[in-house]
């Protein structure tokens, strides 16, 4: 499993807050695992997180590991800094990644590598886990890189 010690973005951006519904996801990323919701009632994957399965209305949602790879569904490259931590920072790439092997759920992260690289919808990507061990409440983000 890939991890990275360098950071996609500068320090000072908001950390993911601790909430009961999403705790299994963030506990999973600390172990370098991508864990999302899967319904015990109908077997479908679900993301973003919710208390109920939107298909069968079961409240019995499990959290299961999914292979941390997918393809770029869409992307953007912000230039204008909207947060003090981004002042003076060069542009960066955000990708929306679709996971075809998990009912096409989508997840968000930064695309690692040259921030000015050409980005193409449909490109295969794989996850890179980015730990923030120094935080008051340590957390790990899930970033993406072009699959080799």
């Amino acid at each position: 499993m890939s991890t990275t010690t360098s950071r996609a973005l500068p320090a000072g951006l908001p950390a993911p807050g601790e909430e009961s519904m999403t705790k299994p996801y963030w506990d999973g990323t600390r172990k370098n695992r991508l864990i999302v919701q899967r319904c015990r009632g109908c077997g479908h994957w679900q993301w973003g997180p919710e208390w109920i399965c939107h298909r069968c209305h079961a409240f019995d949602l499990a959290w299961e590991e999914v292979a941390p790879r997918g393809r770029i569904y869409s992307w953007e490259r912000p230039h204008h800094p909207v947060h003090p931590a981004l002042q003076g920072h060069p542009p960066y790439v955000i990708v929306l990644v679709e996971l075809p092997h998990a009912d096409n759920i989508r997840v968000i992260g930064n695309l690692l590598g040259d921030p000015l690289q050409e980005v193409k919808i449909g490109t295969a990507v794989e996850a890179v886990f980015e730990p923030h061990d120094e935080a008051d409440r340590p957390y790990t983000l899930v970033q993406w890189r072009i699959a080799v």
Partner: protein, 394 residues
């Protein structure tokens, strides 16, 4: 069975606006701006403000109906309504909700309004400076995804890429708003024209489709419209702008969290546009003027497509400035300057401009305009829209 419709049942009888200020430049408190707009709308209609008996708003307006009712000494409050959802998605819904109240007899004389002093409060275009991001933001803010421009950009990227629509189509939308603002004395961007070179040279906010001029302004302002039963509107001072249809909402799971809507590359009008046309008994070809909320020009592009006004495969050809300019363009668009160049009045300036077009008093008048389509803030949920018409359309 009586037909369940708003078509022709209510009308906008009065319109009111404060001066439109640049962000942070209003000399007035946000609530005072709301009071001014309400009084102006009543004056325009020739109605005693004390006879207003309801208020409808959207976007989490801070000027509460009860405080307005107390401050204005209205005789009795019969309807107070806040439409869920952020941004200007609820602008047309506020008018339709007021209409529903009036038509059903819940109230008789309802103000739909919005007040927004972003200099006094927080701007939308800046990310929240918090230690921890909660809810859906927890999956965006740590990755630098936190402003409206950033939240919507990936919908636009996907839509434009899927259909091969070039950025020039969005440039035409920006140029139409700036073109119309140059003759509008209310417009914040009057005297600051936009040409192709200036647009192309403007800085990126977010690649690949948000240059500076693709993004709305942020302003300090308030506006209001007065909604009354159709029969009463005829007896008041102004030519009525009849509500021919109103719709709101979104398609299946359009609000699915963390960018998981099944139909993602959408302005969220696929079902809402259909419902609007059904109620109005009109179609896209019947619209004389189009007012389409520009939070971002890519959202306008998607909403025009989803309202059947432009085919995606024809967008590169059709979306040129001359087609969008009043008075003679094939589809006059945002004829007062809209959110880009008149004022970011959260879309209520578009409703008011629609009323002016039907009265024949717009500064970029489309000759003989009988119908106006108003499209509320695209890409949020719920979205809303409205068709207004003259008496001839009833």
């Amino acid at each position: 069975m009586t037909e369940r419709t708003l078509r022709g049942k209510t009308a906008i009888a009065g319109i009111g606006e404060t001066p439109y200020y640049k962000h942070g430049q209003s000399p007035h408190d946000e609530f005072k701006l709301a009071l001014i707009a309400v009084l102006e709308a009543c004056k325009d209609a020739g109605v005693d403000p004390r006879d207003v008996d309801g208020f409808a708003s959207y976007g989490g307006d801070r000027s509460e109906a009860t405080r307005l009712a107390a401050a204005l000494g209205i005789k009795e409050l019969r309807f107070s309504n806040m439409h869920w959802g952020g941004g200007g998605g609820g602008v047309c819904a506020a008018v339709a909700n007021a209409s529903a109240a009036v038509h059903s007899g819940i109230a008789d004389c309802v103000i739909a309004f919005r007040s927004l002093a972003q200099g006094q409060f927080r701007r939308y275009g800046r990310g929240a400076v918090a230690v921890a991001a909660m809810g859906e933001d927890a999956f965006g803010a740590p990755y630098g995804l936190m402003s409206p421009a950033q939240r919507f950009a990936m919908k636009i990227t996907r839509f434009m890429t899927d259909h091969g629509i070039r950025h020039e189509a969005l440039r035409a939308i920006a140029m139409a708003s700036y073109h119309h603002a140059q003759t509008n004395p209310r417009a914040v961007m009057r005297g600051r024209p936009l040409d192709e070179a200036k647009y192309d040279a403007s800085r990126w906010i977010v690649e690949p489709f948000h240059r500076l001029f693709d993004c709305c302004m942020e302003n300090d302002c308030a506006a209001a419209v007065l909604v009354v039963p159709a029969g009463r509107a005829k007896d008041l001072g102004q030519r009525p702008a009849y509500v021919l249809g109103g719709a709101q909402g979104g398609h299946h799971r359009s609000a699915a969290p963390v960018h998981n809507a099944p139909l993602y590359a959408s302005s969220h009008f696929t079902t809402v546009a259909r419902n609007l046309y059904d109620m109005a008994k009109l179609g896209p070809k019947d619209m004389d003027v189009v007012q389409a909320y520009e939070n971002f020009t890519g959202g306008v592009m998607m909403s025009l497509v989803e309202h059947g006004l432009v085919k995606p495969e024809e967008a590169n050809e059709f979306m040129i400035p001359s087609n969008l300019y009043a008075p003679s363009g094939r589809m006059p668009l945002n004829t007062s300057g809209g959110n880009l160049a008149e004022c970011y009045m959260h879309g209520l300036e578009l409703v008011i401009e629609g009323v002016r077009q039907l009265r024949g008093t717009a500064c970029n008048q489309v000759p003989g305009a009988k119908t106006v389509l108003v499209i509320g803030g695209p890409m949020v949920t719920p979205v809303s829209n409205l068709i207004l018409g003259t008496e001839d359309t009833l």
